[in-house]
Symmetry: C2
Subunit: 416 residues, 2 copies
């Protein structure tokens, strides 16, 4: 084991997060410091950059700029959504990847992404084994959705959760400023899992957050929702609702995609998103009530200025650990986290490795027992889970009081 000399490739894949570049920085800095790794290559737009032979020589970047990656949101190397076919079916891409690996003598491949990316890692690894090309392949997790199996949580989630909680606290203040009635509906990302929408409960825990929270783990019932809103509005004159974009009816139809609805009867395509749609339904039911729909949109996944320091640190460590494990001879693994608590009850994040096949193509949802009976809020277990993940402020360097993002030269590498 160990002692495999050659170049490495780091690629980023899937939707961006506030800290995916922190993981890249962890990989790049650790790889650059290693004696076994002869060249550190950054793939332009993930696997697509490998197929297109668009690889940047990360050794040509200024160390100071690399150190800013941890404060730079989104994927600095570029990302992609590209699914490899099974190699039994069509091995064109695999042959091309092998060709590129040979061209640069790539012996280490680090892929930073969600469950699709882990699937990509797994497939490439199996192919390389089949053709007898020695290469160590490690996955580095990332997703604001927090839905990877086998890991306590995913890098990217804590920062998005903090953005959501903080924004909800601020919107609460705004939504309570007049003595007239108002219903506010905030739409949060999460197609299949409610981890992000649930994070709005951190705001409620602090005293300023949604009264009602709907996650995709429970079927959505429009009548029940309207009754919930009306009850709280009648009691308090306000109602603040958080919804996951992925809420769906009992038959599986996404509420956001329901073109017609017995409840609203509009019967035409909705231009706005879910928040706009639910606002229109509430308006038509509660005549004359002011309703505001707010969609957190991309802001929640790129809001690096509100990142969690804990998340940045863990993302960096995940990248570093992937390189260290590969150098020690590991392959076909994804870095994952276990949660522990010290004697003082302080949260500790422990790094472990998992087999790629245990992660690829699964989705982890919010446990049903963390959701309240009514299906319109989360329990203390969720707060206890999420709170440690949002801690600490990033030391983002500023210029003109605006964030100073990493500026990469992206010099194309030439072969070995």
């Amino acid at each position: 084991m160990g002692d495999l000399k050659g170049a490495c490739i780091i690629g980023q894949s899937g939707g961006p997060t506030a800290v995916i570049n922190a993981s890249a920085e962890g990989v790049i800095e650790t790889a650059l410091a290693s004696e076994d790794i002869t060249q550190v290559l950054g793939a332009s737009h993930g696997i697509k950059g490998i197929l297109a032979d668009q690889l940047f020589d990360m050794g040509k970047e200024a160390p100071k700029e690399l150190s800013l990656l941890k404060y730079t949101p989104s994927s600095a190397l570029g990302s992609c959504r590209y699914k490899l076919k099974d190699s039994d079916e069509d091995d064109t891409d695999y042959k091309r990847i092998l060709e590129i690996f040979q061209k640069y003598n790539v012996r280490y491949f680090f892929y930073n992404g969600g469950n699709d990316s882990m699937d990509t890692c797994n497939k490439i690894s199996k192919y390389m084994q089949k053709v007898g090309y020695e290469c160590r392949i490690m996955g580095v997790p990332k997703t604001i959705d927090n839905d990877l199996m086998g890991t306590d949580h995913c890098p990217g989630y804590g920062s998005a959760a903090k953005y959501i909680a903080t924004s909800c606290m601020e919107v609460w203040q705004d939504a309570h400023v007049y003595d007239t009635g108002q219903v506010t509906i905030i739409e949060i990302m999460g197609r299949h899992a409610g981890w992000l929408a649930g994070a709005s409960a951190l705001a409620t825990y602090e005293g300023y957050g949604p009264d009602l929270i709907y996650l995709p783990e429970r079927d959505f019932d429009m009548d029940k929702f309207l009754a919930d809103v009306e009850r709280i509005y009648n009691d308090t004159g306000k109602c603040f609702v958080a919804v996951s974009e992925g809420i769906h009816y009992a038959d599986g139809t996404f509420v956001s995609e329901a073109k017609t609805s017995a409840t609203d009867g509009f019967g035409h395509a909705q231009l706005g998103g879910l928040a706009a749609y639910l606002s229109s339904v509430v308006k038509s039911r509660m005549d004359g009530v002011k309703v505001r729909g707010i969609e957190l949109s991309l802001l929640q996944r790129c809001g690096a200025h509100l990142a969690s320091k804990q998340d940045i640190m863990e993302a960096y460590e995940a990248g570093k650990a992937a390189v260290q494990a590969a150098l020690a001879g590991e392959t076909d693994k994804m870095i994952a986290f276990d949660r522990a608590y010290d004697a003082q009850g302080q949260y500790i994040c422990k790094i472990k490795e998992m087999h790629l096949s245990e992660v690829a193509n699964y989705e982890k949802k919010v446990p049903l027992e963390w959701i309240n009976e009514e299906g319109n809020g989360v329990k203390q277990e969720f707060i206890d889970y999420a709170m440690p993940l949002i801690q600490g402020e990033p030391d983002t360097p500023k210029e003109d009081s605006l964030p100073r993002f990493a500026k990469l030269k992206k010099v194309l590498a030439s072969g070995k």
Copy 2:
């Protein structure tokens, strides 16, 4: 002059900002420290709280909580949108205000708001003079819209501008992550003036901002807009657009309110806002192109975590100066700012006073000569104007890494 003993009222009015409470804190702390002011009363929901005799005794609040007001967004005392009738027409409200002023021996009134609020101040002041009730009335400016006449800028604008610029920089990163095409349209507040939308140019100045910016100061032409977007998209594969919610066609119709349009031909009511509408128009023109509409919504006016320290300080000083001026015998004035530069070219904010009648009911727009010829961007003059206003980070205290807002007891006051 000077030497008028009695209570004071501080009221907040109009849409909230990130720093309106900093002005309230400036008024309250300065008034509490004064020997002439015998009681400091906070009006619940502005003028409505005076009419309803809902006044809080601010002397009963913990000083530590008052000191957190400068980091607490929205209007802590509650706001209102209430327009007084002319007293010649109907003096019911004025009689009631006089009654309340007499009940509490109110001799100082500080009203924190936009141009409608300055109109309210002016009317009350004239009435009090007419009936011979001695009372000094001062306006404290606030508005994210930055549209008050006679002042270089308004408290609240700098923080909203910083939120917009930072968010645009982050969204730019997200919108450029894939090598596939994308048009991103971000909708920014500002019904009649483009100061807020213009602030997105600060992001462009830093290297990551909108390619196109449309302000309400120039008529909007849908065909020209679509041609602009197509040109940039064809050149670069991306196009990032910022629009003011108040953009309108040459005939004055707001684009957001245009129910039918020759360009899109949908012909039905739009549920979403302007960004959703423009996205649909771009989609129907540029077939197959991915388009994202983002509305910054309430987030931009309550985003205290991204406030400008300069703005917080100036908002506080405006409140303080209002009390000091009133104590010195001034009345019927609004605090305003002049801009100066020191020998090193550093921005200095100078406080001045203006007559209420010079401010009430006027609107200050972005100078046309600061907008580019094409009407799709702003010039360096705008950058030079806005940049000093967003400087410095707030020292927001946190609990659980989330903002710790001021918690007021709001003890109702009893009469003198």
